[in-house]
């Protein structure tokens, strides 16, 4: 029951892991017990407090689909405007807002949340566990996404939506050229929404690495999990540059810190670098989950194991890394040195190889098997047709001379729609039609789905194939009228007509899903006869997924006997006899069971915390900065309360997961899921820090601006101040390490004191820094100091939290409480402070 293609080592693993089967019980009793414990709260309150991955995954996807519809309606307004050369349908101001919001909604409010939703909903089912690693974080991510999206939509309704294009190039998006709050809505709204992306990335990473069914080796797990692992790692490394860029631009707009102002040593290209450091990997972040769905569905549709499991995993590995070496191909026309053009052109061509490996593996699978033309297969064929064409025009655009000709024309618009609709929307439609029986428990109503597919295919290619020609004839992107170019008229009119056809197709697709959910007949279990664990459960899938968790015995078998085994409690950790939400935490490599994690239940805390963050965002939007600063106090207090919720208040006795096999609960085990999550978060944090270092290096080396006035940061006094700061943080790190080893409160107290000393030193240093509005490098120095200060502040908070745990008697030799997490955070803070101090001192000395 792992992946159909994986070599079958599972039987041997079962013996190696020696996990005897639990005695069978009455399935209905187990179901009732588990359903009661894992149920959402009843009524409307349940809508606000649910933390179940099944509920939230579906909610993510449904909300994303609503945003897709809104983005689609905006695209129809664009097409209506362009249908004639002097369209009077929209004025320029509204046209600019609408195309900006169309792109922003589709990228940030549809595609990313949709893939997050699919991962959150599907991964626990596919991996044989009961929920994601951090259910409250899932909920927090959803509310941040919803509130951020609503802020952006509200701005559109009031005519103050962003209008500078979805990539918000400076200086157009700077305060001088974009007064008002339009650009701030984008910067703050998108950053708010990206909390959900980072939250999802952290928990997807931890869930895949630490929660697979015992015996499901990393090298044998379903390909979808490999794809999602690659995606989540890319999100951890890819989103921080965007967040860094957004923070810098918002600081420039709000406080006149000139990161992108050429006159004061800034450079607009820094924004482009930071944006596309995120923006290009983003394409693969969107594509990989879709490819994961394809790799899951194609073998089932073709009744054969997938071809080249190992080659596909290697291709994912290649894509994850290579996609970070392409970002400059979006900037080929900005005056990049020739040699750099060649580097990025070569990388852009090379990335086609791992993509092609997957395409050929899927084609080979279809060739080897006996394809059955069910509705998901229609959309898969639509994917092949569309995505391959988009990939080939991508290779064209990777070639510098062609890129110079086609840059910023409708050709690029056509290319990106072929890639994104081909590489994401068609696979997502295949996924929706494939997993709908698991979601609804109902069979689809035949006929409408096939018709919707054909209308979408004809509408899509009619719209966007033509747009290649429009672009090759020179039509730029983002213009609202073209009175002097009659040669573009019929092409645009054709695109507009087919655009409406495509929209009708999507409406039919949505109607088909609604009909299935409401009118479909009851579906039998495992209708596709799939070999994966997601179908080894009742339809529709319950919140708890499995009455007992699959182990090596179940992984070595397939079919209905596995489903019955699990339903009757013959798997591991059957039911919920202790009345709490429990799942197994396993080792990274061979998935050996290590301990039992007790997950938090339903909670309104994520909603309240995200609402508090929303208040901060709104106050920033309103320019009420002192109040916004004050709004962070309740945010910090709620995070403290959140941490308190991690403490177990029930019996931490070991749990018997199988006859004779007892495991400790998470409060008495290391490393816990929370510790793994912190490591994942620090990957993102490190990427954020690296983005700031890149900015500093870029402005120091590349910017042709006059040098800054000699910085005071290089004096002996400031050098000593930095030494005190770094020394205090290093001592705090040592104290945290000792505290974690010895569990002695004295070390924690010492760590707290060292952190406070570091904060005092930092405050003094901040006063020595030059005016950050004077020069971009001064502004970046201030940001670096802020980064270190924020981390030291959090480290102090963690040390105080641990002290509070001592006071409450929640830390002892077997139960380390917050100490392991504090130790890791403190070490990270010390290392980044050291790097920042050295870089700032050296950079200040040479400026």
């Amino acid at each position: 029951m792992t992946d159909a293609t994986a070599p079958d080592h599972s039987l041997a693993e079962a013996e190696a892991l020696a996990l005897p089967a639990n005695p069978r019980q009455r399935a209905l009793s187990l179901h009732r017990e588990a359903a009661r414990v894992w149920a959402n709260d009843p009524g409307f309150r349940g809508q606000l407090t649910a933390v179940s991955h099944t509920t939230l995954g579906l909610r993510f996807m449904a909300t994303a689909f609503v945003f897709f519809a809104i983005g689609g309606i905006l695209s129809m307004l664009i097409r209506a405007q362009l249908a004639t050369p002097q369209g009077a349908f929209l004025d320029t101001e509204h046209y600019n807002q609408i195309f900006t919001m169309h792109g922003s909604i589709m990228m940030f409010l549809f595609a990313i949340p949709m893939l997050e939703g699919l991962g959150i909903w599907l991964l626990p089912k596919l991996l044989g566990t009961r929920d994601m690693a951090f259910p409250r974080l899932t909920s927090l991510g959803y509310w941040c996404y919803l509130f951020g999206g609503l802020i952006m939509l509200t701005a559109l309704l009031f005519g103050v939506a962003p209008r500078d294009g979805w990539f918000m190039y400076t200086p157009l998006s700077g305060a001088a050229h974009s007064p008002g709050i339009n650009a701030d809505v984008w910067l703050l709204g998108v950053t708010f929404v990206e909390i959900s992306a980072l939250a999802a990335a952290v928990e997807i990473t931890v869930t895949i690495l630490r929660q697979r069914a015992p015996g499901m080796k990393l090298t044998e797990m379903p390909l979808f999990a490999w794809y999602m692992l690659g995606t989540s790692v890319m999100m951890l490394a890819g989103f921080p540059p965007l967040i860094a860029g957004s923070v810098l631009l918002e600081l420039e707009r709000a406080f006149d810190w000139p990161f992108f102002d050429v006159a004061r040593g800034g450079d607009p290209l820094l924004w482009q670098h930071l944006f596309w450091l995120f923006g290009h990997p983003e394409v693969y972040i969107i594509f990989l989950p879709a490819a994961g769905a394809l790799s899951t569905i194609i073998p089932v549709m073709c009744r054969t194991p997938i071809l080249g499991y190992g080659a596909i995993v290697a291709a994912i590995l290649g894509l994850v890394f290579l996609s970070f070496g392409l970002w400059v191909h979006h900037m080929f026309t900005v005056g990049i040195p020739h040699m750099a053009l060649a580097f990025f052109s070569a990388a852009s061509v090379l990335v086609a190889v791992p993509t092609a490996v997957q395409i050929f593996a899927w084609i080979g699978t279809m060739w080897k098997g006996r394809p059955e033309l069910h509705l998901p297969m229609y959309h898969i064929l639509g994917f092949f047709l569309t995505f391959v064409m988009g990939g080939l025009t991508g290779v064209m655009l990777a070639i510098v001379p062609f890129n110079w000709q086609a840059h910023d024309t409708a050709f690029v618009t056509a290319h990106l729609h072929y890639v994104l609709i081909g590489g994401f929307v068609f696979p997502m439609m295949a996924a929706a039609t494939y997993w709908m029986p698991l979601i609804t428990g109902r069979r689809r109503v035949k006929g409408l789905g096939e018709a919707a597919f054909w209308v979408i295919v004809v509408g899509f290619h009619g719209t966007f194939f033509i747009m290649h020609l429009t672009g090759l004839m020179g039509m730029p992107r983002r213009i609202d009228v073209y009175p002097d170019n009659p040669e573009w008229i019929w092409l645009n009119l054709t695109s507009s007509v087919f655009g409406f056809v495509m929209t009708i197709g999507f409406a039919m697709f949505a109607l088909d899903l609604v009909m299935q959910a409401t009118l479909g007949k009851r579906e039998a279990r495992d209708p596709w006869r799939a070999p994966t664990l997601d179908w080894a459960m009742p339809l529709p899938s319950p919140n708890y997924n499995f009455a007992s968790l699959p182990g090596p015995t179940q992984l070595s078998r397939t079919g209905s006997e596995v489903t019955m085994d699990l339903a009757r409690g013959a798997g591991l950790l059957p039911g919920a006899p202790r009345g709490r939400r429990e799942l197994l935490v396993t080792s990274v490599g061979v998935a050996r069971p290590l301990h039992v994690a007790v997950l938090p239940g339903n909670s309104a805390l994520p909603l309240v915390l995200s609402a508090s963050i929303a208040i901060f965002v709104l106050l920033m939007l309103g320019g009420l900065y002192p109040l916004a600063g004050a709004a962070l106090i309740p945010v910090a207090a709620l995070i403290w309360v959140w941490g308190r919720g991690l403490v177990l208040d029930s019996d931490p006795a070991p749990v018997e997961i199988a006859p004779g096999v007892r495991l400790p609960v998470h409060s008495r085990a290391r490393p816990t899921l929370a510790q793994s999550g912190l490591h994942a978060l620090l990957v993102a944090d490190g990427a954020l820090f690296a983005s700031l270092l890149f900015g500093l290096a870029f402005l120091s080396v590349v910017t042709p601006a006059p040098a800054a006035a000699p910085a005071t940061a290089a004096t002996l006094a400031t050098g000593l101040g930095m030494a005190v700061l770094v020394g205090a943080l290093a001592l705090a790190a040592i104290a945290a390490h000792r505290a974690e080893r010895t569990i002695a409160p004295g070390w924690t107290l010492a760590g707290s004191a060292f952190n406070l000393l570091a904060l005092v030193a930092l405050a003094w240093l901040a006063m020595q820094l030059d005016d950050p509005t004077a020069h971009a490098r001064d502004a970046l120095r201030a940001v670096m100091a802020g980064f270190v200060g924020l981390h030291a502040l959090v480290a102090t908070g963690m040390a105080f939290f641990a002290l509070d745990q001592y006071r409450r008697g929640e830390i002892d030799a077997a139960m380390p409480g917050a100490l392991p997490a504090w130790q890791v955070w403190q070490a990270f803070t010390a290392v980044t402070a050291l790097i920042a101090a050295v870089v700032l001192f050296v950079q200040a000395g040479v400026s």
Binding site: T219, G310, A314, L317, P337, M339, A340, F343, A346, V588
Partner: protein
């Protein structure tokens, strides 16, 4: 975990080399006003860095055991090849390009 780290080693090394050579080229080109040709010293530096990277990749390839055939267990070996090929292909312009 060691298996995972070995799998990531090849592509990570490419990422390091790509950043290093790109950064080095940025620093060199910042010193050259206008579209002038690269000096012999600058070119040697870039080609040397590229060669060093290839050597490191070859050393990694030599260290990583060949096992697992065409399965995912062979990922460390595949990763080493991916890294080597990516470094050779994406940085070969240090040989060809004549100017900034």
């Amino acid at each position: 975990m060691r298996w995972l780290a070995l799998s990531l080693a090849g592509p990570m090394l490419w990422a390091v080399m790509f950043s290093l050579v790109y950064g080095l080229h940025g620093a060199i080109c910042a010193e050259i006003p206008g579209p002038e040709g690269l000096g012999i010293g600058a070119r040697l530096l870039l080609v040397g860095a590229w060669g060093l990277g290839i050597a490191a990749h070859l050393a990694l390839l030599w260290r990583v055991p060949a096992q697992g055939g065409m399965t995912a267990q062979a990922l460390p070996r595949a990763g080493a090849w991916i890294g080597l090929f990516a470094t050779v292909f994406t940085l070969f312009p240090v040989l060809m390009a004549t100017s900034c």
